[in-house]
């Protein structure tokens, strides 16, 4: 499945500044693996070593929040990665 992933500004150092990139995968986990293959290091900044989404990261598939990486992804879907910035 091909989808579009919107990259937040804190992660664009990995995508050479690109705000959106194409990726492949049938689940959110596969899409992030596809991103990792192209942009080494990006996954661990969002997902910890136990495959948990980090506390200040939210992932949306077509405007619906995805609670886990097992969320299905379909051809043409749009994924948003959100960094919940807060504090001083």
């Amino acid at each position: 499945m091909s989808c579009t992933v919107h990259i937040p500004s804190p992660l664009r150092s990995y995508t050479a500044g690109a705000g959106s990139v194409g990726a492949e995968g049938a689940t959110l986990g596969e899409v992030l693996t596809s991103l990792e293959q192209r942009f080494g290091g990006i996954r661990f900044r969002m997902i910890d070593e136990q495959d948990r989404i980090r506390p200040h990261i939210r992932l949306y598939v077509n405007l619906q929040e995805a609670p886990t990486l097992t969320q299905r992804v379909h051809d043409g879907d749009t994924i948003h990665i959100i960094c919940a910035l807060s504090g001083g």
């Binding site: 804190p10 661990f44 910890d48 136990q50 980090r54």
Partner: protein
């Protein structure tokens, strides 16, 4: 040899370099603006190499590596991470890479990292790829040894490598105590006898102490110093009982603080920066009058060093990684950075202090590099 002070702050990394006469310091940076930088450490075996422990408030932790003295940085290909938990097992995730220690002088490319929650990791390729030290991370006592933690979790720090034996390691956990390994990290044992733990119900508990900073002198590796939450200590191996050298500090000052810094060539000389550890633990300079204290006799006596520091209404806090010495013998310089964003330089071993940078973000670490 040129001197650089690397400043790790809550908002990025900075560098301070003196002019040729050593009078004026030039600030450069920030690098990684907005990142939380806990530690920046030079590799004494390859001085062009530096590692930096970093994260941001919302992104996961990582390590950056420079091979050109800090001009450019590249992220580790495999940052420190706990192994994947088995079904039904408690799952740990690294939240902060907190401490960096170069490995044994004879093990080029080897580094250790301490994290929060308490974890120990090792790299054998100069910091590019990190693997868990299973002997600690999977130790059956690990959960008990690091049960208390700080408000930001339990930190593993102050990793010390015996220069005579790469398999002989020490490290400290806040809160948990000092631990020793004699087999390269395969097994660990507490080493806290003699240390107070006023907050514990059992004053003779084998672990549960709060070592703020542990230091081993490379020229006298049987000599350990410790600035603890409950005092200032020295241990001479093979002894196992810490001696409270803070008893020799003035009673109105006490012996509480975060950092302890050793002289590069004299194992009897060390500096501390006492802070107020009474009641609710203000952790500020005592009475608003900051001062460093130096011993030149292994802790039997201490001398106040406050010339040039503010004489009052200065409520400084200096964290455990935010004080260091340089290697400019015989007039070794001492430096500290405050949580209020000031860097102070103490010329001639701290005899006279001068503020060399201000208005920086909250300072987490000050380290010397050549």
């Amino acid at each position: 040899m040129a001197t650089t002070l690397w400043i790790g702050t809550r908002k990025g990394a900075f560098a301070l370099r003196p002019d040729a006469r050593g009078r004026n310091w030039r600030l450069s940076g920030p690098q990684f603006l907005g990142h939380i930088i806990h530690h920046i450490v030079q590799d004494p075996r390859e001085p062009r190499v530096l590692l930096m422990a970093a994260k941001t408030g919302h992104l996961g932790p990582t390590v950056y590596r420079s091979s050109d003295r800090g001009r450019t940085w590249r992220e580790a290909a495999q940052p420190p991470a706990f192994r994947k938990a088995a079904e039904g097992e408690e799952a740990h995730g690294v939240e902060r890479v907190f401490w960096l220690t170069p490995g044994h002088p004879g093990e080029r490319g080897t580094w250790y990292v301490g994290t929060s929650p308490a974890g120990l990791f090792r790299s054998e390729d100069g910091g590019k790829r990190w693997d868990p030290v299973a002997g600690f991370n999977d130790h059956p006592m690990r959960a008990q040894w690091s049960a208390f933690g700080t408000p930001d979790g339990a930190f593993l720090h102050s990793i010390c490598v015996d220069p005579r034996d790469p398999r002989h390691l020490y490290m400290a956990i806040s809160v948990g105590g000092v631990f020793e390994s004699t087999d390269g990290g395969a097994d660990w044992a507490p080493l806290n006898e003699g240390c107070a733990a006023d907050f514990m119900p059992d004053p003779n508990a084998p672990f549960g102490h709060d070592p703020h900073c542990l230091a081993l002198h490379p020229l006298a590796p049987d000599r350990l110093y410790q600035q603890n939450h409950c005092g200032l200590y020295r241990l001479d191996r093979p002894g196992r009982r810490w001696v409270r050298i803070g008893e020799a500090m003035p009673k109105k000052i006490g012996d509480i603080g975060f950092p302890i810094v050793l002289h590069p060539s004299d194992p009897d000389t060390a500096w501390v920066l006492p802070m107020d550890g009474r009641t609710v633990w203000p952790r500020t300079s005592i009475g608003g009058k900051p001062a460093a204290y130096r011993t030149s006799d292994g802790g039997r006596s201490w001398r106040r060093l406050d010339k040039g520091l503010p004489e009052g209404q200065a409520w400084l806090t200096v964290l455990r990684q935010a004080m260091c010495s340089d290697d400019r013998e015989p007039r070794v310089g001492v430096y500290f950075g405050t949580t209020g964003g000031e860097v102070w330089a103490g010329a001639r071993g701290g005899e006279r202090w001068r503020c060399i940078a201000r208005h920086l973000p909250e300072i987490y670490s000050v380290t010397h590099a050549t």
